[in-house]
Structure formats: structure tokens, C-alpha cells
Symmetry: C2
């Protein structure tokens, strides 16, 4: 896959950077083949990938053009967090988000919830029910501390797609990716240690660092290529960093996929400074392209990457089935797992294992990938249409989250409060920063099948933002 | 309940202490009524309770006698751990125990597994299956961070039996009692803090202290009345103890129920020295007497007790449904819960809530209580019959564990290794100590319905111990 994928990435980033403008004709297949020394079919594959991603469109007999049918919001700039280790705040805002019980009168654009209504999930429910009906249900027993062996085999098999060669004994099943993250951090770090993080970054991981007494060092991050390696290297020079915590594939909240070359470079950097990497891959299987992007872990030859994931985003979060491949930290992670929950609920593990083994996982993913990609396109359109002029937005390459940036002075906490009265909840930007930055940003979920109701909710967000901005400008 | 229960406790402890000998006649109902200023029927209730516990037997027309039909092993002495804060060891031994996957060829006498084959559990399986069959299954969603509201209502109702008045919002659902313990410890303590524990003590709690970087101060503990308040007070004088961690009702591993007066005195002590108490009540509902003993929490008037429990011992551990009532530490516990697992698997919560709400919990408990009491009697008989002379054993008042003490020099690690070849596993004593004491002790599970196979396994333990002891004596 690598050749055409790399070429597509290169062309894609040129388009994103504005080197080719919307509507402009792109180099011919033959020209690119000569320029890059690859076959014609490789170039064609690359163009097809870009087409799948909505970046280019073919015109019969005239070649490929930069897609112009959709006006996209401008990209946010590379983030500029405070580049020193800080104590983490924002628990109150996170608590407000996670305390919310699903309620039919509130449209939840804030939470990281996948669509669980897909018919492709039916075999999972069937399997859960079948397991429960058995009186000798193995789900009643304490599980082995590694987790169910059958499930671990299936996970090892799935991870081949990400370039990882793992055996079942390299894996530890956890209660969601949350537990994978906290066990991994505790396996590597002591309280007071400094952890480098991409920024913005998943609030749960940030709160975990807080709760465990670590300091976070937020690294500038590009909305297309991910964490700045240059800034990271400077930070590694300057601070005794113990761990790099990162979501390189289908990042939450920004949705980028770090290019493969940068993934390799990141690993080299980690080796040079001898730090561990926590790779959060919870959205990795939801990349809009297939095969899915490679993990950092797949390039790791000395066991320094702890790969954390779960089925919360691909199947359903209520199952709480996650896992970690902790590399050289396996023994420590096992201890941390044992003390944090003893073992993981069994029945959901068994059901997920059946679901994968019976071949239901890939068809389900296929469907979700294309649903989410359509969701992204619609959400981008709605932001263009309903949000204040000048609003910027991320360009997700996977997953189901859009990151939206409003003018610098804007306060999304106030926006969220105004929205709650209208039955809409968003995730405020400040929870994605250790130090409460990104107050002018917000994250919205586009997992649900798009309905008029969802569109109305997004419209409310945009119009309320506009109203607050106007009030601000007129000093009201 | 208090009057007759207290009287039974008093008489029971006199018997246990040898004030009345086996076969000896006990004071008449009338005499006790006068002596203690209680009604005749109160005394009769007390005697009936003692009879249920196998301590006394009535003889028609002649009154009550100390039961003599069963020869019981002598009680262990009060424990004598090192009375200074220590770093905790023994992870390797614990790992060996929890790594074991259930295997038909190995009789597991070591793990804390209840009997999950009881027909009274059927409605739980039915409910699990019913929930799974629904396509809009709420079990697929992220749960509220407090846990399912319906379940919390049911737990609050159950805890009335232990004297606690709790509302659903006082509770946080956790992934087993394990998570309740680790969240509680982290909510109260910082790494390096000293935690006082009863000794011997549940290995999971001990390993949690280890993993979180705490020091354990093991307090001498009596096999009938529990933690020595005198020793605890001395320790509180001498060391800056942050937390007292204790399993006062149906203790693991010893099975005692701390008398109510001592529970109150413990709480007064904690108030005087202003320390928090972590009360592990995971076996509390399995006391052989009904109503169940009161919790420390029920006497707590300033929110210093964190009450931790789960349905792992009463229903089934594979469900991983636990909970904590953290008192004044609620907010901190919520944060720790969020970072440790995000939320708890939903479907098992819903099924447990249904099971309780539909009235299946108490009948199930009744059945298990009497099964386990019979199990205890048989296990004690087997120890008397098959174990080396001089073997001592605990006198469990609830739960399904027996603590067995062999001569001082004996090494149960060696015993366990010899037994594994014979398809039997026990829990070695050293894991119940922070510092690897109790090497001459072991814990056996008597939850399973007693079969010839189980008896043969216990016999193997006893005879192998005898063989090893003989070899030791003859220097072989
Ligand atoms: C990047 C990232 N990691 C981890 C998690 C937690 O996943 P889980 O629900 O499996 O604990 C989330 C969920 O929001 C996430 O977005
Ligand atoms: C005293 C005690 N507390 C807590 C636990 C852990 O319970 P759970 O399986 O619910 O995590 C056990 C189980 O062995 C136990 O014996």
C-alpha cells in the first residue's frame, strides 16, 4: 500500500496547503508517474484515494481536478499552547460533560458516541443474548487477568491491518481504552513526571494525567500532519520528558492522520531521547481510507510503544471492552490492571470475540466509515452555512468529530450554557487543553445519521455563536 | 435486632474463648434473662442464632449445651505482624494466583469465587439475555459517570439492612469492588502515605496499596473480634496514618464479624485521630446470620467512611459490578473513577438492577448463606480429619473462605507447588501480608457444593502438608 498511499498524502497536503486551488487541474497520471518514478496504476490508485476523500474529482477525458463543489471552512492554524509543563485543570468542565445522562430532549453533539443503531451491529446483540442464556455462562467467572484468550486472538489478527505483529500474550484486555490509558501511564510514570501531549488532546487522557499527578507539556500540533516534531524535539532537549502521549491516527479532536513518514520520524526521536510512547489508536480503524493507516507500534522494534485502544468507537462504548499492547511494560501494566479493576467484565468480551471471529467486524467498519465520511461532509457544509464568517474547522480523515475554531475572543463555555437551554450540548474547547486554552473552540460529533433534527441543532450552535459574537462586538 | 444479636455475640465469644467447654450446659434462658435484663424471647432468639451458627445445640427439656458433635481445629492466635510501615511485596505470588484460567483438571481452592451454579441465579441470566435482545439496548451507550440510576436506587435500598441510609446520589458504580478500593485509596491518600490494615488482609487491597505507592502498617488482628483496637490506637499515636483499610464483616481471609461495639469504638478512634476509613463490605451480605451485621458506615456521622462493595461474591464476579459510598470524598472518587475506566459496563448493571428490583436477591442470598454455612462445617471437619495434628483454623461467620495455620516453620509456597502437580490450587498465606508473613498459612474456598471430588482435593492438601512436614522433620 505504501507507494500510492504516500503519493496520495503528498498530493493531498499540497491541495490542503493551497498549492492547487479548487477547480484547478491536477498533474496528469503520466506526469506524476514520471516525476515520482512509480507505475501508472500507482498514480491512479492515489487519485482514487483522494477522490474517496473528496479532495479531487475526475472529469471524463480531462483528468483530475481539485474538488470545488464544496466550500470548506479554512483550517485552524497550528496550535500554540504554552510550551512548559503545567498542572492540569478543567475537571469541572469535563465532569459537566460526562455527568450528562442521555436524554431524548437534548441533542448531544458533545460526546464521543458512535452510531450504535446500525443493523451491522445486530450479530453482536444476538451473541450477547446467546451467551447470557447459558447457565454455565463463562461470563460469570473471574476472568484471567490478561483477559479472554479468544478475544485476544481476534484482536491480534485485526491489528495485522495496522502493520502490527502481536500475539495474544502481548495483549491485556481493559475496561475501555480509559483503563488502557491509565494503566499505561502508571506503568511508565511516577507522580510529578512530565508527559508530552499533542494539543488539543482528548480530555480523558488529560484528566488521567491530572489524577495521577503528572504534568502535561502541550506540543504545538498541525491540523493536517499532527504533532510538530520540531517543537517536540525542542521540548525533549529542554525537559526530562518520560512519556509522549499521542493519538496519531484519526486524532480526537482534530481528525487528522499523521503521515507515515512523520510517524517513523517520531519513533526515531523517541528512541534518540529514550522515552516511551503511549499511542492511543481508539479511532484508528475508522479511517475513511482502507487499508487503515499504520500504527506507530508497527514501526516499534524495541517495545517502547504502548498501543491503547478499545471497541468503544468502532462498536459500542457501553461494552467497555478495550485493550493495550504494552511492549516492554507488560508486567507493570498487568499489575496496574490488577489493582485498578481486578479483571474485565467477561460477557461483553466473549460477544466481541464472537462478532469478530464470525466475520462481522469488517462489514460493520465499512458501513460506518462511509457513513461517517458522509457525516463529515455534511457537518462541514453546515458549518460553512450556519456559522459566523471566519469560522475555521478541521478536515477529519477518520472518526466522527469536527473541531471548530471561532474568533480568538469567543467563549464556548458561554455558548454551551446558552445552548443547553435550547436542548443542545457541545464539547467546549478548553477541556482539550491542560491549561484551559482553546476557549474559542468546540468539538461536534457527526456520528448520528444526519436528520433534520441534527441539522437544526448544528444550526442553533452556529446562530447562537453569531448572536453572542454580535453582542460582544456591540459590547452587549 | 440489636438486643438478641448482642447477647448471642457475647455468649458466642465466651464459647469461642473456652469459658464454656464442648458438651457443657449453658445458663438457662431464665437466668440469662435476669442477668442481662432482657425478655425471655430475646434470650431464645439469641440461642437460636447460636444454634444456626452451630455453636450450641438444644436438648429437649434440659436447655442448651455447647455443641460437641464437631471437633473443631484450634483457633489461630492473634496475628503478630511487623508493626511499622512497610513497602509491599508478594506481587509474583498474587500474579500466579490471578493468572490461572479456570481449567477442568484443576480444583481451584485458592480463588475468591462464589458458587455461580445456583438455580436462584437464573433470573439474572434471563435478564442479561433480555436486555441484549433489544436493538436500542441502553447497554451500548456510555453510562452516566455515577453509574446506572436504577441500580443505585436498588443498592441504596439493600444497604438499609446494614443500617445505612444512603441515597442514589451518594453512590458511584464501579468495575467490581477492586475499582471501588483503588478509587477510594487514591481519593484519600498520596503516594508515600501510610495506610493501617487488618492483618492478614485481602491481597488485592494490599497490591493496590503497593501499586499506588502507599506504605502498609499491618495491625495485629484477632481471628474472632478483628483488628486490635489497642494496637491500632498505639499505631495512630505513633505514625501519621492517613487511612484505615479494613474488612470488618465476614473478613477475607478469616471470616470473623467484628462485634458491633468494637465497630463503634473503631469509628470513635478514627474520629479522634481524624483519619478516614475504607470499609470493604464485599462479603457483608453473606453473614450466616440474618439480618446481616451493621456496617461501620452506618455509625458514621461525618462522612469519613468510604464503604466499598460489589456483587462479585453475592452474585457473580464476571459481572464486575461494584460500588462505593464515598461520603465526603465523593467528588474525588468521581474523578478517580473517571480516569480509571471512564464508566462501567452497562448491561451487567441493568441486569443486576432488574434482579434486585424483581425480588430475586434475598431468596438467592438465603440459599447461599445456608449452603456456605454447611460448606464451612464440612471444610472444618475435613481439616480436622486430613490435616496434620496441631493445624489451626479460623471460625468463619460468613462468606466462603477458611484460613488455615500450619506449624510455624511450614512453607505453603512449596505446598502449593507440590499440589499443582496433583491438580489442586490453594491461596498461599504470604499474599495476605504486606511483608510476606503467614508463609505457614493458606486459604481455602468452600463455596462449591461439596462433592467427593472437593473432599479429595482438601484431603490432598492435608496429606501433602503432612508429607512435607514429615520430610522437614526428618531433614529430608
Ligand atoms: C482519543 C480517545 N481515547 C480514549 C477514549 C476512551 O475510550 P473508552 O470509552 O474505550 O474508554 C476516547 C473516548 O472518548 C477517546 O476519544
Ligand atoms: C475483601 C475483598 N475485597 C474486594 C474484592 C474484590 O472484589 P471484586 O471482584 O468485586 O473486584 C475481593 C475479592 O476477592 C475481596 O475478597
Amino acid at each position: 500500500m505504501t507507494l500510492y498511499f504516500n503519493l496520495a498524502e503528498l498530493l493531498g497536503s499540497r491541495i490542503e496547503q493551497g498549492l492547487y486551488r479548487p477547480g484547478q487541474r491536477l498533474p496528469s497520471v503520466r506526469a506524476l508517474s514520471v516525476e515520482h518514478g512509480v507505475s501508472l496504476s500507482t498514480v491512479q490508485q492515489a487519485y482514487r484515494l483522494l477522490e474517496d476523500n473528496g479532495l479531487v474529482s475526475p472529469r471524463p477525458k480531462s483528468g483530475y481536478f481539485v474538488a470545488e463543489d464544496r466550500l470548506l471552512p479554512a483550517l485552524p492554524d497550528i496550535s500554540r499552547p504554552a510550551q512548559r509543563p503545567v498542572d492540569i485543570s478543567q475537571w469541572e468542565q469535563v465532569l459537566e460533560l460526562v455527568r450528562a445522562t442521555p436524554h431524548p430532549d437534548v441533542i448531544q453533539l458533545g460526546r464521543g458516541m458512535p452510531d450504535v443503531d446500525s443493523p451491522t451491529l445486530k450479530p453482536l446483540l444476538r451473541s450477547l443474548a446467546q451467551i447470557s442464556r447459558r447457565m454455565d455462562m463463562p461470563g460469570l467467572y473471574y476472568d484471567n487477568i490478561h483477559g479472554n484468550a479468544h478475544l485476544r486472538e481476534q484482536i491480534a489478527r485485526l491489528m495485522l491491518d495496522s502493520g502490527c505483529r502481536l500475539g495474544p500474550s502481548d495483549l491485556v484486555v481493559t475496561t475501555g481504552c480509559h483503563e488502557a490509558l491509565s494503566c499505561s501511564i502508571r506503568a511508565v510514570c511516577q507522580p510529578g513526571d512530565i508527559v508530552a501531549v499533542d494539543s488539543p488532546s482528548f480530555h480523558g487522557a488529560m484528566q488521567t494525567l491530572k489524577g495521577l499527578g503528572m504534568k502535561a507539556l502541550e506540543i504545538p500540533t498541525d491540523p493536517i500532519t499532527g504533532i510538530s516534531l520540531e517543537a517536540l524535539e525542542l521540548a525533549l532537549e529542554q525537559w526530562p520528558i518520560k512519556l509522549i502521549q499521542i493519538t496519531p491516527s484519526c486524532n480526537n479532536p482534530m481528525g487528522y492522520i499523521m503521515p507515515e513518514a512523520r510517524k517513523k520520524a517520531l519513533l526515531t526521536l523517541a528512541q534518540r531521547y529514550d522515552v516511551a510512547i503511549l499511542e492511543d489508536d481508539v479511532y484508528g480503524d475508522l479511517a475513511y481510507t482502507y487499508p487503515r493507516p499504520r500504527t506507530l507500534k508497527s514501526f516499534d522494534d524495541d517495545g517502547r510503544v504502548l498501543l491503547c485502544s478499545s471497541f468503544s468507537k468502532t462498536l459500542a462504548p457501553g461494552l467497555r471492552v478495550g485493550w493495550v499492547a504494552p511492549g516492554r511494560y507488560l508486567e507493570r501494566v498487568l499489575h496496574m490492571k490488577y489493582i485498578s479493576t481486578g479483571s474485565t467484565a467477561c460477557q461483553p468480551q466473549l460477544a466481541v470475540a464472537d462478532f469478530i471471529a464470525e466475520g462481522h467486524y469488517q462489514p460493520h467498519l465499512r458501513r460506518m466509515r462511509s457513513q461517517y465520511q458522509r457525516g463529515r461532509d455534511l457537518m462541514c457544509d453546515w458549518v460553512t452555512r450556519y456559522f459566523p464568517p471566519g469560522t475555521r474547522a478541521s478536515r477529519p480523515q477518520g472518526g466522527f468529530m469536527l473541531w471548530v475554531e471561532l474568533p480568538e475572543s469567543f467563549d464556548t463555555l458561554r455558548l454551551n450554557r446558552a445552548l443547553l437551554e435550547q436542548g443542545v450540548q457541545i464539547a467546549v474547547g478548553s477541556i482539550f487543553s491542560a491549561s484551559g486554552k482553546y476557549r474559542n473552540c468546540l468539538r461536534m460529533n457527526f456520528a448520528a445519521r444526519p436528520t433534520a433534527q441534527v441539522e437544526a441543532a448544528v444550526r442553533k450552535v452556529g446562530e447562537t455563536a453569531l448572536r453572542l459574537l454580535d453582542a460582544e462586538r456591540t459590547g452587549g
